[in-house]
């Protein structure tokens, strides 16, 4: 397939995943405002804006952190160059670029999702339609992923789609962890200390992980076990290890298809080793923040190696 088209697929799925993760983050924040006091809610919105890298942009035009105004800004504000609406639009533009490499089912899921969002977000977000708007984003992404799974050939196009999805997802998990790392306490001495239930709830909900975590770790609500779960549990689909294993598989498939490995596979292997060699204790020792920063850099190296190995641009 064409390098330009591979680039289109890769980014289509990155933007879709990014839009979905952003919606999850907002849903978690929205829930906090409903269940916790105003101070906690304020904190939560600030932390969400920080995670998205939008705090400055938001504060340029707002001095309050109400759920509706933050959500409106994140979802659709014209002053926000990274709004979810724009992400969906970019996903769709990339979908048009790689239209002949994705199936009609995938394209329709993407296009319909985008159309519904445009309708819903044509007017300012209010508390009455916030849930609808967030649900639409998640549904569009889910439909496109399902159509991908059920209708696409297992060829290059599929591998680039999955690479984009999991690279973006790992990135998003890391960013959420990083902003909330003060909740997870960077020092070893706190490991094992019970957390305030509102704090861990916030971390887990941002990753839609609260139910899964409780299932697997009934009773234990420690920073150590939450961090271990989000980083190392290969059963949880947003954990770093889970994302890496899918990135690795797809890079391996590509190498098999092309009959050669390149820089991308090399970087993946190095990153893999960096991750699995560590225990959660090592990470807290090193400092969670430092670990996460290193992870983000590693992810970026893999992404650029993929782009250059597979000739995304001339």
């Amino acid at each position: 397939m064409l390098g330009r088209v591979a680039n289109g697929i890769f980014w289509m799925y990155r933007y879709l995943e990014r839009a979905e993760n952003t919606a999850r983050l907002l849903e978690a924040g929205h829930r906090m405002t409903l269940t916790r006091g105003p101070d906690m809610a304020n904190q939560e919105w600030i932390s969400i804006l920080t995670t998205l890298g939008l705090r400055k942009a938001y504060e340029a035009g707002h001095d309050e952190y109400t759920g509706v105004s933050v959500c409106d800004f994140v979802l659709r504000s014209k002053d926000n160059p990274e709004s979810v609406l724009l992400m969906m639009e970019r996903a769709r533009t990339n979908g048009r670029i790689c239209r002949s490499a994705i199936t009609l089912e995938v394209w329709e899921a993407l296009n319909e999702g985008w159309m519904t969002m445009c309708d819903l977000l044509a007017r300012p977000v209010r508390s009455t339609n916030l849930n609808d708007a967030l649900a639409v984003v998640r549904r569009a992404s889910t439909l496109a992923r399902g159509a991908t799974e059920g209708s696409m050939l297992r060829n290059e196009a599929y591998n680039f789609a999955r690479l984009g999805t999991f690279l973006e997802r790992a990135d998003s998990t890391v960013r959420i962890l990083d902003v909330k790392y003060y909740l997870l306490l960077p020092s070893l001495s706190y490991v094992g200390t019970p957390l305030d239930s509102g704090q861990w709830d916030s971390v887990l909900r941002s990753l839609s992980a609260e139910r899964a975590y409780q299932w697997l770790n009934s009773g234990e609500m420690s920073a150590r076990s939450i961090a271990e779960f989000l980083i190392f549990d290969d059963r949880f689909p947003r954990s770093l290890v889970f994302c890496y294993s899918h990135m690795r598989d797809n890079l391996f498939q590509l190498a098999k298809l092309h009959g050669e490995t390149g820089e991308a596979q090399e970087q993946m292997r190095a990153a893999d080793i960096r991750l699995v060699d560590k225990s959660v204790e090592d990470i807290f020792q090193q400092g969670l923040h430092e670990f996460l920063q290193e992870f983000i850099a590693g992810n970026q190296t893999i992404a650029s190696a993929v782009a250059s190995d597979y000739r995304f641009t001339a």
Partner: protein
């Protein structure tokens, strides 16, 4: 319109109100349908098109980058017998066009014989000196031709235009049928309609048959698009997808080792046949417009060395010219030795002083078109224009008569459309799509029917508010 309006031909109803043979099966079905249910279907069709993304882009409109071409759900129906006669005429015309192109770029017998004035192509920007003495692979110039037909009576089909550059609209032909079958499946079990869905496969086959002689193995076909902002991008992507061909942009292509190659994820890979949806002048910045970023530097050298097939061949735009069009009956006769089976619409060439005088005297009754114009722009439709519009146009015409031709205002046939108040007749034309390769001429039964949605309007172009219909050829 004037009182002397000639009787119109309606595709569905005879003048006594009875339903014509072509529509008897459809009418039988329609009379059993509930009217409000039909109305709900009309809205459903629009949703179907939006969802699939069958849109075209309108230049210079900020709010609505992507528009839908309105779809009307009453089919335009042609009987098997009518189609057989039509396809003979179309095939004759396309064969003549290809012979004409070859002659124009070689010995120019038609000019030596005095049948065609030399100035017609000497002044024609679409005529490319780079094509002189060169024969495209397989000898084919117009791999895909769209012949615009209008009807004025039971047996009167006329050619209005030959689209030999890069005719568009075939995706609508295909999607209109898909939409109809999705909305009214039982209708297709009652009325036997010849399928159109294998067009992309036939296109791929026809293009492959035109690959350069030295092609190894199965030819690699690519569709060249100007990009996602082009008005017909949807169609480019659709055809590439349906043919299993790569959809490329100029930046994906490069001349490497005497071949045009595309940048794939595993390196450069040669292209044998390029179905380009980019105009001649943007094709090769080294040969034509040096500012073009849509094309491939050096592709014309590869082409002339026999390393790639370009479809349609550069320089075929000469046949789109309306002054050349006016000579088509002579052209058909010159190359086929037969009378043209499909007549032209009468055409006055304003370059000719006598004709110009006639046209100027009768502007209120005529349609005047620019020789190189297309898309329904830059034309005057006398009967529906205001006095001022006619006065302004007269000035343009007098200043540059060579740039215009004129035709009588035809009583284009009408076909009913579905309106809120029931069926209402609107003017239609028909664009069949014709494939040409050394294996022969292949015409997909039917084509694209365009319909003027405004009552009384004769302009069917989508850029001017026209819509489309599914076009049926009955399997009878």
């Amino acid at each position: 319109m004037s009182a002397s309006e000639p009787p119109k031909f309606d595709e569905m109803h005879a003048s006594d109100g009875s339903v014509r043979d072509a529509y008897s099966g459809y009418q039988g079905w329609l009379s059993e349908q509930d009217e409000s249910w039909m109305r709900s279907k009309s809205a459903e069709a629009e949703g179907f098109f939006r969802k699939t993304g069958i849109t075209f882009n309108v230049y210079g409109e900020d709010d609505a980058e992507e528009r839908l071409i309105p779809f009307d759900m009453v089919p335009r129906i042609i009987t098997g017998g009518e189609w057989r006669r039509l396809s003979k005429g179309i095939e004759q015309r396309v064969r003549a066009l290809n012979a004409f192109m070859h002659d124009l770029y070689h010995r120019q017998e038609i000019i030596r014989s005095g049948r065609l004035p030399e100035r017609l192509f000497r002044n024609n920007a679409a005529w490319l000196p780079q094509m002189v003495g060169f024969t495209p692979p397989g000898g084919v110039y117009t791999h895909i031709t769209g012949i615009d037909l209008v009807r004025t009576g039971p047996d009167d089909f006329l050619v209005l235009e030959d689209n030999a550059r890069t005719p568009s609209g075939v995706s609508y032909m295909l999607e209109n049928r898909e939409t109809m079958m999705a909305m009214f499946p039982e209708l297709f079990s009652k009325v036997k309609v010849r399928p159109v869905s294998d067009y992309p496969r036939r296109l791929a086959k026809s293009l492959a048959a035109c690959a350069p002689a030295n092609t190894q193995g199965n030819p690699t076909i690519a569709v060249l698009t100007p990009g996602i902002f082009n008005s017909a991008y949807y169609e480019h992507a659709f055809l590439a997808d349906q043919m299993g061909a790569e959809l490329v942009e100029g930046s994906d292509l490069r001349v490497v080792g005497g071949k045009v190659q595309m940048r794939t994820t595993v390196g450069f890979k040669p292209v044998d046949v390029l179905y380009r949806r980019v105009d001649d002048e943007y094709l090769d910045p080294l040969t034509f417009n040096s500012d073009s970023v849509l094309g491939v530097p050096g592709i014309m050298d590869v082409y002339r060395a026999g390393g790639i097939t370009i479809a349609n061949a550069p320089g075929t735009g000469v046949a789109d010219d309306k002054a050349i069009y006016s000579f088509m009956p002579e052209i058909v006769e010159f190359y086929t030795g037969e009378k043209a089976l499909l007549p032209n619409v009468d055409t006055w060439r304003c370059a000719d002083p006598d004709s110009l005088k006639y046209v100027l005297d009768n502007l209120e009754e005529l349609v005047v078109k620019e020789v190189h114009g297309s898309g329904g722009y830059g034309m005057l439709i006398g009967p529906t224009s205001s006095k001022k519009e006619i006065r302004d146009f007269r000035v343009k015409l007098e200043n540059d008569p060579e740039n215009y031709i004129a035709q009588p205002t035809l009583a284009l046939s009408t076909c009913p459309i579905f309106t809120k108040k029931g069926l209402a007749p609107r003017h239609v034309d028909l664009r069949p799509f014709v494939l040409c390769s050394p294996d022969g001429v292949d015409i997909t039964p039917g084509g694209l029917t365009r319909v003027a949605l405004k009552k009384g309007s004769l302009v069917v172009n989508s850029s001017q508010g026209g819509g489309t219909k599914d076009s049926w050829v009955l399997d009878d």
